[in-house]
Subunit: 206 residues, 2 copies
DNA sequence: CCGCGTTTCAAACAAACGTTTGAAGCTTAG
DNA sequence: CTAAGCTTCAAACGTTTGTTTGAAACGCGG
């Protein structure tokens, strides 16, 4: 296994694919556009990933492995504390996503790709995400259940679903709110996270 | 202008396109798949709509004209009442969408297509939607502003954005909540609308 | 410095894409 | 009944799609 060249080619493809998938969708972005943007040969995708579908999965895996790990880490911290609050659990879920979206090049773009995955009714993709990262949502659901014991199971699941909706929508920048001129991207996203936690906490408590 | 045949062909194309756009996206659904599903000739799309892009716009126009009209109608009713509530304004926005999604064939599918439009970063499509239906959101924003006078303009816009997010997500069935076995589609959606109003009202009031 | 496994490359593959064409099939008015 | 105007149709247009190929280039251990 060589080192730098292979790594670099793989990484460049993943980066370009992420960007183009966010912009044009999985079907809308062609491998020729991806390889051109990555400045690699067309055949490199099938050499390194086997197929376009595998490339798509790898784009998710690269980011979600770390994102899931950080979320569970912060959730464990919250659970260890003496008096966990709803806001603290929401923070544990939202802050890692915020940090990722503020990462050097690509992080913010990935949240748009993730939102695309929700829009796709593609059952293979949904199964892949559910199989590999479903346990994260399960753990958070349990934490919320502990904090909202007065809610029925049904009631709780409905509200969590809606909270995830607001979160997904906001993180993917679907909305109409634009960054203000005197504001950095970081400031904009931090304020968004603040409103997000406040809004969903109120909704969950109802 | 002929009557039945043309009308039927146009309508069949729109119906099939709506379904396939929801399932596979705008780029993912080909005109050959659409015309095959509609049982019409391939060339019929370009004859009746001019291009695939025009077909996409027409899919939106067919549903949104009526949806927007009903929303404004109900909002006007609420504004005429002696004491409008947050829940009543939310109802005015959500109930017409619920009714559409319960319509005979296609209504529920359209909400998924609409959510795709948010996922697409396509500026042409966003401009089309904003130009033709932006005034509806404006009127609702004004109604909310009147009911939440203690909020700053910024604060209000952030919360509205998040509310639209939860709404879009829920109506498009992005979530993980499945219809329960003993439950009709109508019951499921009505319950969803109930939770949606309750959740977003709490979030808006914060 | 040679040879072998890995990676890149240009080229080609069949299939599918949106769109166009011109003739055939209709329906209706005169 | 004929002529005119829509609508449908099969076929083909040139592109673009994902994937495959076999040879060239590369990097490194022996």
């Amino acid at each position: 296994m060589p080192h730098d060249t292979q790594f670099s080619t793989r990484q460049r493809i993943l980066g370009a694919a992420e960007e183009l998938f966010a912009e044009r969708g999985f079907a809308g972005a062609s491998l020729r556009q991806v390889t051109a943007a990555a400045k690699v040969n067309l055949a490199a995708v099938n050499y390194h990933f086997g197929s376009k579908d595998n490339l798509i999965e790898e784009v998710f895996r690269r980011r979600l492995d770390e994102l899931s790990h950080r979320r569970l880490e912060r959730l464990a911290e919250v659970n260890r504390s003496v008096a966990p609050t709803l806001e603290a659990v929401l923070d544990a879920f939202i802050m890692p996503a915020l940090e990722l979206s503020l990462d050097r090049e690509g992080g913010s773009v990935f949240m748009r790709v993730l939102a695309r995955a929700f829009a796709e009714h593609n059952s293979n993709l949904r199964k892949f995400l559910s199989d590999n990262y479903g346990h994260v949502l399960k753990e958070f659901a349990a934490a919320f259940a502990r904090l909202l014991p007065h809610l029925s199971k049904d009631e709780l699941y409905w509200r969590l679903d809606l909270a995830v909706g607001a979160l997904t929508y906001a993180m993917a920048d679907f909305g109409m709110i634009q960054r203000r001129s005197g504001e950095t991207e970081r400031q904009h996203r931090e304020q968004m996270a603040r409103h997000l936690v406040h809004f969903t906490a109120a909704g969950l408590r109802a």
